[in-house]
């Protein structure tokens, strides 16, 4: 009972944050609503017994991506400028499209005969998920893991090249 109440609280927090991102006029408020969504998603991962992914979500998303986004917002607006808001365009067509997609996806997910099973519950209860995830990264998923390193290195170099000052001659 308490479990369900907690779940609904976290889920409501997540969804409210997402709608805050979508509907708030000021892009700074959007960024803080995004933080609510990211924190709520981390909470949902805890409910789903994914402790390692929840920690990664907090470290990478809330600690990294969100701070980066806020920096970009501050750098692309004059601080003295009060008009940080951004007008949205085409709300009604967008709402129509979103409603159409939403109804389609909701019908699909509520009707589909999902093949359910044991899941990770039993294994996660014993030792946590970190052991299994690390084992997979150094075993069957070694090649994607190394490719991810290369992608991150490329992104790092690319971001530096793109955002450095243009020095002619």
């Amino acid at each position: 009972m308490i479990y369900a109440a907690l779940f609904y609280g976290v889920a409501l927090f997540t969804v409210a944050g997402a709608f805050g991102v979508a509907f708030s006029e000021n892009v700074v408020y959007s960024a803080f609503a995004l933080m609510a969504t990211l924190l709520g998603a981390a909470g949902l991962y805890v409910f789903l017994l994914a402790d390692f992914v929840a920690a990664v979500q907090l470290l990478v998303y809330v600690g990294g991506i969100l701070v980066l986004t806020l920096f970009a917002i501050m750098l692309t607006h004059q601080i003295s400028e009060v008009e940080v808001s951004n007008r949205a365009v085409g709300r009604w067509p967008a709402l129509g499209l979103v409603g159409f997609v939403g109804v389609g996806m909701a019908t699909a997910l509520l009707r589909a005969p999902w093949k359910l099973g044991e899941g990770t519950a039993a294994r996660a209860a014993g030792e946590g998920t970190t052991y299994g995830i690390g084992d997979s990264f150094l075993g069957p998923y070694l090649l994607p893991f190394e490719l991810a390193s290369i992608v991150l290195l490329t992104a790092l170099v690319g971001a530096i090249v793109l955002s450095r000052k243009e020095l002619r001659d």
């Binding site: 479990y3 369900a4 779940f7 889920a11 997540t14 969804v15 997402a18 991102v21 979508a22 959007s30 995004l34 969504t37 990211l38 991962y45 789903l48 017994l49 994914a50 390692f52 992914v53 990664v56 979500q57 998303y61 990294g64 991506i65 980066l68 986004t69 970009a72 917002i73 750098l75 692309t76 951004n86 007008r87 949205a88 365009v89 967008a94 997609v101 939403g102 996806m105 909701a106 997910l109 509520l110 999902w114 359910l116 099973g117 899941g119 990770t120 998920t129 995830i133 997979s136 990264f137 994607p144 991810a148 992608v151 991150l152 490329t154 992104a155 690319g158 971001a159 793109l162 955002s163």
Partner: protein, 102 residues
């Protein structure tokens, strides 16, 4: 009523729809990027929900870690591009940035 797979899928769906709406309506390029983050997060919620309630092992969680990694790379590159656009055009309104020549 027990909290089952469908609860998480509905949360993921709502977050996805909010992200789609954000991408479609924002004129601020950073706002569009935030919408993309929402969509990626909804995919992650679904991955981990299926990892918990499905019949596989940790595959869903591993894929979600890859998604988080790619989201970090995408945010770094995307925001660097946005800063470059701002330096060039003095605006990050995606409707006014319509010139391909540098």
């Amino acid at each position: 009523m027990d909290i089952g797979l469908n609860h998480y899928l509905v949360v993921g769906l709502l977050v996805f729809l909010a992200g789609l709406f954000t991408v479609l309506t924002r004129r601020n390029a950073i706002g569009v990027l935030m919408g993309v983050e929402l969509v990626l997060n909804s995919a992650n919620i679904n991955y981990i929900a299926f990892s918990r309630f499905g019949s596989g092992g940790y595959e869903g969680q591993i894929f979600s870690i890859f998604v988080i990694m790619l989201a970090a790379a995408e945010a770094a590159i995307g925001l660097a591009i946005v800063l470059g656009i701002y330096r060039k055009f003095k605006t990050i309104d995606v409707e006014e940035v319509d010139s391909l020549r540098g």
